[in-house]
């Protein structure tokens, strides 16, 4: 976070409760810089949409303050916040044509007729819907409606655009296409975006930074690569990407590393001490499937354990292998389908090895 430039959006210890008994958002802090693409990612009910609604002004914060360009906005009604928003079901006004939908924010701002039609045409061109201005939303496909919704949120040139699971209703191919489209719009217009989704690949594809939500708390706020490679706790490690878990007890801590004795009789392994208590505390070891080697000689890796091959799934570019290791029979290893790699058979016993830096000891 840069000290010199004011963040565009700041959540300052924001809390939210609907019923006065349960906090759906517990102490939420977030700074969003100008031009940034920040995604709030989390399972449903984790509080991410609530945070977005508080930012948009549709839900009041129970406690704490939200700032937009340094100004507290808790008491600013939604229509005065100047924030563009794309809704989950697009919320295109069904009784207006596409062009009228786009003109709506400009009309309520009192722009002139010719200016409005210029801007509307430009916005439609931007999302490649040049000839569709006279249609009703119901006459468009899901993807087209989505693009209209995005361009409507942008047409009045807000500095901040919020998107609430905008791609949830699209099928998989269209969703991927739209991810890139939104990403490109973001890059071209340099507009700040706050995006809410429960789809991690969507988040990883599009965002500068991702806030992972669970249980009303931001578990980790980091760029996608860091989130994937350096998860700070077991929830993030499990939520983002595929992840092997091993449980154990911390026996010894040496600077950045620690020695962990595995439950299930796997013996001692060396791991990166990321998020653990003292010696004797329980820990979860997190290990990405692609960071393990299989069939390696015992000496070539820091850690090496014996494993039994339970199941092989042929996936073309790689073979997904489920092995049982230290009592965990859901341990996944990806074996590249290339020359020079071992070819396993089900039931056979092999060695699985990994480096201490790839094995993160996290909270239990």
């Amino acid at each position: 976070m840069s000290e010199t430039t004011e963040p565009l959006v700041r959540f300052d210890s924001v809390q939210k409760s609907y019923d006065g008994e349960i906090l759906v958002v517990k102490d939420f802090n977030l700074d969003v810089a100008k031009g940034e693409f920040v995604t709030m990612l989390g399972p449903s009910g984790s509080g991410k949409t609530t945070c977005l609604m508080m930012l948009a002004g549709f839900e009041p914060a129970t406690h704490g303050e939200i700032y937009l360009e340094g100004v507290p906005i808790n008491n600013v009604p939604p229509h005065k916040r100047g924030i563009g928003m794309v809704f989950q079901n697009y919320a295109l006004f069904p009784h207006m044509t596409v062009a009228e939908n786009l003109a709506f924010p400009l009309e309520v701002r009192g722009l002139g007729k010719s200016e409005i039609s210029d801007k509307v045409n430009k916005a439609l061109d931007m999302v490649r819907l040049g000839g569709f201005g006279d249609r009703r939303p119901a006459q468009l496909s899901g993807g087209q409606q989505q693009r209209v919704a995005v361009s409507r949120a942008l047409v009045f040139e807000p500095s901040l655009v919020l998107m609430d699971e905008p791609l949830g209703a699209l099928d998989k191919n269209l969703r991927e296409e739209m991810q890139y489209e939104i990403k490109h719009i973001h890059e071209n217009l340099q507009v700040t975006m706050v995006y809410v989704t429960h789809d991690q690949s969507e988040a990883l594809t599009m965002s500068n930074r991702i806030a992972v939500f669970d249980d009303g708390i931001v578990q980790q706020l980091a760029p996608p690569s860091e989130l994937y490679e350096k998860p700070m706790n077991a929830f993030v490690a499990g939520f983002i990407g595929e992840n092997n878990r091993l449980y154990g007890e911390v026996k010894e801590i040496n600077g950045d590393y620690c020695q962990v004795e595995l439950e299930g009789g796997g013996g001692m392994v060396k791991a990166l001490a990321v998020n653990i208590g003292g010696v004797g505390s329980r820990t979860t070891l997190s290990l990405r499937p692609e960071r393990t080697t299989i069939g390696a000689a015992k000496e070539s890796s820091t850690n090496s354990l014996e494993a039994k091959v339970e199941e092989l799934i042929y996936l073309g570019d790689h073979i997904r292998s489920r092995v049982s290791l230290s009592g965990n029979d859901q341990f996944i290893v990806k074996v590249p389908n290339s020359h020079g790699h071992v070819h396993l058979k089900e039931g056979e016993t092999t060695q699985i090895g990994w480096e201490a830096d790839d094995c993160r000891a996290l909270d239990a």
């Binding site: 948009a56 002004g57 549709f58 009604p77 939604p78 229509h79 916040r81 100047g82 924030i83 563009g84 928003m85 809704f87 989950q88 079901n89 919320a91 006004f93 069904p94 009784h95 709506f104 924010p105 309520v108 701002r109 409507r152 949120a153 009045f156 919020l162």
Partner: protein
């Protein structure tokens, strides 16, 4: 292959029959099934609705009485020019008809029919029919003229002559406050102190319109509340809205009277808070105010239900989207929310308007002088005066004006846009 593609070529199915025929055959079974499913309703509607309506409409032009029950007189009057009193053959025919009618005891119907055109002809016909039994031989003219003074009036004969025609527009003239001038035979306005039906038509439409508007104004906020509240609260509220449906008319009427009369609860309250003086309490019932209050109360659910069902389908994100786009709440409501409820407003308005046009018990009970609507007159002519021809004409006019309104509505709003929930 090439000759198969010529224009107009019949496309053949796999078995060589034309595709259309095959399709028809395949569809016939499902069509028969559909027919079978709607048949009971169709028959019910036919006998309980269409045939009675047709029958009443026919009665509004049917004029069988004179030509059927006084066939001889009808024939004898064929050549009469209407300039001078008819001659002996007509009177001879009249005596024949009166005698036959007295025996069949149906001559009263002629009297009733003629009395619609001119008051007093009923007793002329019935008393003359009684007296005709004693007439044995001619000349008949002097004997008939002695039977009743009205036989001497040329007007009487013109009325009879006019009504020998098997069809009449007389009932429709009556229904729009017009009549035949019995002296000249021209169509003229009804005398001023008997003009009632046009006033009542206008009044009925005006009151119905007022009730519809009040219903829209009252139902809109409550429907909005119902549609946005959580289901457990909205169900409870809905019961209050539907309560008028579940109480009998008499209970409701008694309740209104207890509430609204000048010594009633509402006036007591007004006096208590000092809103009105005890000496001049408000007259809230037995007048137009009472009619409108009571009918609005009854018909409100018919507005709430379609509005509610339409509003229920509008997700809150539309309003939020409008706000996020910079519209203040009022603009957002007017430009985004309201247009989407138009179909509900339309459906509710049509329901309430048509129902209020047809209401007559409530206005009769709580309406006092102002409570007479056109349907009260229709009911009166159906049940009391037995002038079914006029009742049919009034009913047909009402039906046609409602249909016309419906067509206009369809033209403006489009009936496809109407949602009843």
């Amino acid at each position: 292959m090439a000759d198969n593609t010529t224009a107009g070529e019949v496309v053949l199915a796999a078995d060589g029959l034309p595709l259309k025929a095959s399709l028809n055959r395949a569809m016939r079974k499902s069509r028969r099934r559909a027919l079978f499913l709607v048949a009971p309703l169709f028959i019910f509607v036919l006998f309980s609705f269409l045939i009675p309506i047709f029958d009443m409409t026919m009665r509004s032009v049917d004029n069988w009485h004179v030509s059927t029950l006084m066939p001889e007189t009808t024939k004898a009057l064929e050549g009469w020019d209407g300039e001078a009193m008819p001659e002996e053959p007509v009177f001879a025919a009249l005596i024949l008809d009166l005698k036959a009618g007295a025996i069949s005891r149906e001559i009263g119907k002629v009297g009733t029919r003629l009395n619609y055109e001119k008051s007093g002809l009923r007793s002329m016909i019935t008393s003359s029919a009684r007296k005709s039994k004693k007439v044995t031989e001619g000349p008949y003219k002097p004997q008939v003229l002695k039977m009743h003074k009205r036989w001497k009036e040329l007007e009487t004969w013109k009325v009879i002559k006019r009504n020998t025609a098997p069809y009449t527009i007389g009932y429709y003239l009556n229904a729009v406050d017009m009549k035949y001038d019995n002296k000249t035979g021209d169509i003229v306005m009804q005398s001023e102190d008997r003009q009632i039906y046009t006033t009542l038509f206008i009044r009925t439409f005006a009151i119905s319109l007022a009730i519809t508007l009040i219903c829209v104004v009252l139902a809109y906020p409550i429907s909005y509340l119902l549609a946005t509240l959580p289901v457990r609260y909205s169900n409870l509220l809905m019961i209050f809205v539907l309560l008028p449906f579940w109480t009998s008319l008499l209970v409701r009427t008694t309740a209104w009277i207890a509430m609204l009369q000048s010594q009633g609860v509402l006036n007591d309250l007004f006096v208590f808070v000092g809103l009105v003086d005890d000496a001049d309490r408000l007259q809230l019932i037995h007048n137009l105010t009472g009619t409108i209050i009571a009918m609005t109360h009854i018909l409100l659910p018919f507005m709430v239900l379609p509005l509610f069902s339409v509003m229920k389908t509008i997700p809150p994100s539309y309003m939020r989207a409008a706000l996020s786009l910079g519209a203040n709440p009022v603009v957002a409501f007017v430009r985004v929310y309201m247009p989407q409820t138009l179909s509900g407003i339309g459906a509710g308005s049509i329901l309430v308007f048509i129902l209020s046009i047809g209401y007559y018990i409530t206005p009769a009970l709580v309406g006092g002088t102002d409570g007479t609507l056109i349907s009260n007159q229709i009911a009166y002519h159906m049940q009391s005066s037995l002038n079914w021809g006029l009742a049919g004409a009034l009913g047909a006019l009402l039906l046609f004006s409602v249909l016309a309104l419906y067509l206009i509505y369809n033209k403006i709003v489009g009936i496809d846009n109407m949602r009843l929930g």
